[in-house]
C-alpha cells in the first residue's frame, strides 16, 4: 500500500529517535498548521530560524492565505527565503531527503511537503591531499561530502557538457553517488554500463570503498587495481577531459575513475607539474622501483640457491661469506624477513602515531641489527628486503602497491621452488594475466599495447604537453582531438 505524507505517521515512525524532530507550527489566524520535520544535527538551525521561520512568522502577507495549498504556493514562490526549495509528495523521497539533512514542512491536509536543502553537518574543510601531495600544484582535496566534491570538480570544468548524475545505492544506507562525465567527450556506452552496474548493486550498506569497487571491477580475482581513485580534483578533472568517467560517493574522501589502465596507476600529478624530462625521469624511476620490488627478493633467492652465476664474482663471494653462519636457507631468510616487514607495516598503521614511531625504531633495530649480529639473517638479505620494501612504496597508487606486495611473495616462493625457471614462470603468468584483462572495453595494458602511436606519448615517458593532441581511441571513440597543432 502506498504511504501518504502525514505528520502523525512520521512522528510514530520516529517515536524512538530522539534526534528526529516533528513539531507543529501555527502560522496565521486561519488555524493553518504545518509540521517541521528535520534531523537535529544535520540542518543549519540558525538558517532555519533566521531565514525561514522568523521571516515567515513576521510576514504580514502570509496571514492572507486561508488554505494549506495557497500557503504552500506562497512559500514555494518566495515566501520563505531559501533558494533550494521544492515540493514533495512522495513519502519515501521525503524520508530520504530529511534523513539526508534537509528540512521539510509537512502539510497534512495536502498530504505534501515543502523541502528546504539546508544541510549543515560536521565536516572536514577542504585541505591538502594526504596521499597525493605535490610541491607544485593545487593543494585542495576531496572530502567526505558529495556536494562539496562535485563542486570542486565543477569549479575546474566550467563546461555545459559536464554531467553530474545522481544515483542512490544501499537499501539501508541510501548512499548518494554522482556519476560525472563530459557528455560530448565520454563514451556514453561506457557511462551506461557503469550506471547499470551501480543500479544493480543490491547491498544494504556502502560502508567502505571496497563495497563499491568490487561491484564496478570486471576481474574480481585480479590483484591489480582496476579502478583508480584520486583525492585531487585537478587530476579527476583532467581525466574527465580525457573521456574517463568519475564516480563521487558520499562519505568517501576520494573520487573513482573508470576505465582504469595500469600505466595510469604509475602516473603521479607531480609528473605534469615538472618539466617533461624531469617528469619522465620520475616515471622511469617508478618503473625501475616496480621491477626492484617485484623481482629483487626472488632474484636473490634464485641466485643464491640455484644459479649463482647470475651474481658477479665479488658479490657471490661476499654473499657466500655473509651467509656462512646463518642457519636458514636463503628462501627462508627472505620470506621470513618479508613477513616481518609486513608485520611492521601493519603494526605501524594500527598503533597511535607516537607509539608507532617508537615501534618502528625498535623493529628496525631488532630486525636490522640484532638479527644480523645474532646470525639469524645475513646482512645482504636485510638490504635486499629493505630495498624491495622501500621501492614498493614508490608506487603512486596504494592499491597497486598492495597488489605488488602480494605478487612479490608469489615470485619469491616460485624462485624458492624453481630458481630462475620458477621466476620466469611467474613472470609469464603475470604478463599473460595482464594482457588478458580489459576494463570497460579498454585493454588493461593500454596504451602500451595500442597500435596508435599518438597514445604512447604519456606512458613511461611524458612528452611535452603540446604533443598531447588526441584522446585515447579505446576510451574516446569520437571527439578525439584535444588540441590542434
Amino acid at each position: 500500500m502506498e504511504q501518504v505524507i502525514n505528520s502523525q505517521a512520521i512522528k510514530e515512525l520516529f517515536s524512538k529517535s530522539s534526534d528526529v524532530l516533528v513539531r507543529p507550527i501555527k502560522i496565521n489566524q486561519n488555524n493553518i498548521t504545518f509540521h517541521i520535520f528535520c534531523v537535529d544535527g544535520l540542518i543549519d538551525s540558525t538558517l532555519v530560524d533566521e531565514a525561514i521561520l522568523k521571516t515567515m512568522i513576521q510576514d504580514r502577507f502570509i496571514q492572507a492565505h486561508i488554505t494549506e495549498r495557497s500557503v504552500m504556493d506562497y512559500l514555494l514562490n518566495g515566501g520563505a527565503y531559501h533558494v533550494f526549495t521544492e515540493e514533495e509528495d512522495d513519502y519515501q523521497k521525503l524520508l530520504k531527503a530529511v534523513l539526508s539533512g534537509n528540512l521539510a514542512f509537512i502539510f497534512d491536509g495536502e498530504k505534501k511537503a515543502i523541502v528546504y536543502d539546508i544541510k549543515s553537518f560536521a565536516k572536514r574543510s577542504v585541505s591538502e591531499p594526504m596521499e597525493e601531495g605535490v610541491i607544485k600544484g593545487a593543494k585542495d582535496s576531496f572530502i567526505e561530502v558529495l556536494r562539496t566534491n562535485t563542486a570542486l570538480i565543477r569549479r575546474r570544468i566550467r563546461s555545459e557538457y559536464l554531467v553530474i548524475e545522481s544515483l542512490t545505492v544501499g537499501k539501508v544506507s541510501k548512499t548518494d553517488m554522482s556519476l560525472c562525465y563530459i557528455s560530448n567527450i565520454a563514451n556514453l556506452e561506457t557511462v551506461n554500463k557503469i550506471r547499470e552496474k551501480i543500479q544493480a548493486i543490491n547491498i544494504d550498506n556502502i560502508s567502505t570503498p571496497a563495497f563499491i569497487e568490487e561491484y564496478l571491477i570486471e576481474h574480481n580475482k585480479s590483484l591489480f587495481p582496476q579502478i583508480m581513485y584520486s583525492q585531487r580534483p585537478d587530476r579527476i578533472s583532467a581525466n574527465l577531459s580525457d573521456g574517463r568517467i568519475a564516480l563521487v560517493v558520499d562519505g568517501i574522501p576520494f573520487v573513482y575513475l573508470l576505465p582504469c589502465q595500469l600505466p595510469m596507476l604509475m602516473q603521479s600529478p607531480e609528473d605534469y607539474a615538472n618539466h617533461f624530462i624531469v617528469g619522465s625521469a620520475l616515471r622511469v624511476i617508478r618503473y625501475i622501483s616496480m621491477i626492484i620490488t617485484l623481482f629483487l627478493p626472488a632474484f636473490y633467492i634464485a641466485a643464491t640457491t640455484y644459479q649463482n652465476q647470475m651474481l658477479p664474482v665479488q658479490l657471490a663471494l661476499s654473499t657466500q661469506q655473509a651467509k656462512q653462519n646463518v642457519p636458514f636457507s636463503s628462501s627462508t631468510e627472505v620470506l621470513g624477513l618479508l613477513i616481518a616487514f609486513e608485520i611492521l607495516i601493519e603494526a605501524g598503521l594500527r598503533l597511535p602515531k607516537a607509539v608507532g614511531t617508537a615501534m618502528s625504531i625498535l623493529g628496525g633495530i631488532v630486525v636490522g641489527q640484532s638479527a644480523v649480529s645474532a646470525n639469524i639473517i645475513s646482512p645482504l638479505v636485510v638490504v635486499v628486503v629493505s630495498l624491495a620494501g622501500i621501492s614498493g612504496f614508490m608506487m603512486p597508487n596504494q592499491d597497486l602497491s598492495s597488489g605488488i606486495r602480494v605478487i612479490r611473495f608469489s615470485f619469491a616462493l616460485l624462485a624458492a621452488v624453481g630458481g630462475f625457471l620458477g621466476l620466469a614462470v611467474g613472470l609469464i603468468l603475470v604478463i599473460t594475466h595482464l594482457c588478458s584483462m580489459d576494463n570497460y572495453g579498454v585493454a588493461y595494458l593500454s596504451p602500451f599495447v595500442d597500435i596508435d602511436e599518438s597514445n604512447h606519448k604519456d606512458t613511461v615517458f611524458r612528452f611535452p604537453v603540446k604533443y598531447f593532441r588526441k584522446r585515447p581511441q579505446a576510451i574516446v571513440p569520437e571527439n578525439r582531438i584535444k588540441q590542434r597543432p
Binding site: L317, Q321, S329, G418
Partner: protein
C-alpha cells in the same frame, strides 16, 4: 574456464619439477658450495690433473668487513680432464661450482696434448661463463703456477682479473675468452692463439701468444711478435712507441685493414695500418714541433710500427703457420678461388706475398707552463 585450470595447474607443476631435474636446477645454497674461481688443467704421466682454486669465507663479521678470505686449492686426477674434475668433486668436502670461474689455466704439458682435450668438458657445461678467459702457463704446470702464487701471498683470482683489466687498456677486446677460443678451434686452417702467462716477483704477466697448430701447442711468440699479431688482428687499442732520438709517443687509435687477393694460386695480402699518436716524451734539444721535424717523426714511427708488424709475418712465412688468421680472410674475400687452394692452404702460407701501407698522424701536444 574450469577445464583450462584443471589442465593448467598440473602443467605448471610438471614444468617446475622437470626444471628441477636439470643439472643447473639442483638446489644448493651458495654457502654450501665451493665457488671455483680459477681452474687449472695439467697433464703428467698419462694423467690429467684438475686443480680448482676457491675462496674460503671468513664469516660475516660486519666489523671485520667481508673480505674474500683465504684461497685454497682442491685437486682431482683422472685419465681425462673431465674424469679429473669428477674426482675433484668427489674428494672435495663441499660441492663444487664452476659457474664463477673467471679464468682457466692450461699447463704446458696439457696444452701439448691438445687444446680440445682440455676444453671439451668445459664447453659442455652450461654453468661455465662464456666470457671466462683461457691462459697457457709457459714452461710450468698450471697447478704449480697457482701454488707459487699462494705461497707468495698473492690473491690469484684478483691478480688474474687485474691482468684482464690491463689487457682491456691495451686491446679493444680479449680474444682469449672461452667462446672465442672454442670458435677459433673450429677453424682448423689457422692457428689458435692463446695468451701465455709468466710469473715474476710482482705477480703474473701476459708475455705473448702461445701458438696452437691443429690444436696442439707448437710454440710461444715473443712480446713484440705478439704485439704485431694484435696490430694485424686490429685489436690494438694503445701502444707506446720509443724512437731512437729520445722521443716517446703513445698510440691512442689504430685501424688495420687486410685486403687479400688470390690470383693464379698466389695469395697477396695488403696490410694497411692507420694510427694516431701523441707525443709523450721529448728529450732532444731539437724543436720537434716544426713541420719538417713532425714529418720526420711520423715517418720514423711508421717504420717502427712496420717493423713490429713484419715480425709475425716473418714468423708465419718461416714456420708455415697461419697465426694471422688469414685463411678466413682469403676465404671471405676470394670465395671461388679459395676452393682451389683450401686443401693445400698449409703449403701456401709460406708463399704468401705481403704488401704494407703504414700511415699515421701525430696529434698536438702541450707543455705545462708554456703558452
Amino acid at each position: 574456464m574450469k577445464m583450462n585450470r584443471i589442465f593448467f595447474m598440473p602443467c605448471l607443476a610438471l614444468l617446475i619439477f622437470l626444471g628441477g631435474c636439470t643439472h643447473d636446477m639442483s638446489r644448493r645454497e651458495i654457502d654450501e658450495i665451493d665457488l671455483v674461481l680459477v681452474l687449472a688443467i695439467d697433464y703428467d704421466n698419462g694423467e690429467y690433473t684438475v686443480s680448482g682454486l676457491y675462496s674460503t669465507g671468513g664469516g660475516a663479521d660486519p666489523e671485520k668487513g667481508t673480505g674474500t678470505g683465504e684461497e685454497e686449492v682442491a685437486k682431482g686426477t683422472g685419465r681425462s680432464a673431465y674424469e679429473a674434475l669428477e674426482d675433484l668433486k668427489l674428494k672435495n668436502k663441499k660441492s663444487i661450482s664452476l659457474a664463477q670461474a673467471g679464468s682457466f689455466l692450461i699447463g704446458e704439458a696439457a696444452a701439448k696434448q691438445g687444446l680440445n682435450r682440455s676444453l671439451d668438458f668445459l664447453s659442455r657445461d652450461e654453468t661455465i661463463k662464456m666470457e671466462a678467459l683461457i691462459y697457457i702457463t709457459k714452461g710450468k704446470k698450471a697447478a704449480d703456477f697457482i701454488q707459487e702464487g699462494i705461497e707468495n701471498k698473492q690473491t690469484i683470482h684478483e691478480d688474474l682479473e687485474a691482468i684482464e683489466q690491463k689487457q682491456q687498456e691495451i686491446l679493444t677486446r680479449n680474444d682469449n675468452t672461452m667462446v672465442n677460443i672454442l670458435n677459433d678451434m673450429k677453424q682448423t686452417d689457422s692457428c689458435v692463439m692463446v695468451p701465455y702467462l709468466i710469473a715474476d716477483e710482482s705477480g703474473y704477466l701476459i708475455d705473448g701468444y702461445a701458438v696452437f697448430d691443429q690444436l696442439v701447442l707448437r710454440d710461444y711468440l715473443d712480446h713484440e711478435t705478439s704485439d704485431g699479431v694484435n696490430f694485424i688482428r686490429n685489436i690494438m687499442r694503445s701502444y707506446p712507441v720509443y724512437l731512437d732520438n729520445g722521443v716517446g709517443l703513445y698510440i691512442s687509435y689504430t685501424n688495420t685493414k687486410l685486403k687479400t687477393r688470390l690470383e693464379n694460386q698466389q695469395v697477396t695480402v695488403k696490410i694497411t695500418v692507420s694510427f694516431e699518436s701523441m707525443l709523450k716524451e721529448v728529450l732532444t734539444q731539437t724543436n720537434v714541433f716544426t713541420a719538417k721535424e713532425m714529418e720526420r717523426l711520423t715517418q720514423e714511427q711508421n717504420n717502427y710500427i712496420r717493423s713490429i708488424i713484419e715480425k709475425p709475418v716473418k714468423y708465419s712465412v718461416e714456420n708455415g703457420l697461419d697465426i694471422l688468421n688469414l685463411a678466413r680472410q682469403v676465404e671471405n674475400q676470394n670465395f671461388v678461388q679459395w676452393q682451389g687452394i683450401k686443401d693445400t692452404w698449409a703449403d701456401e702460407i709460406s708463399d704468401i706475398k705481403y704488401q704494407y701501407k703504414v700511415q699515421s698522424r701525430i696529434s698536438k701536444s702541450f707543455i705545462l707552463g708554456e703558452d
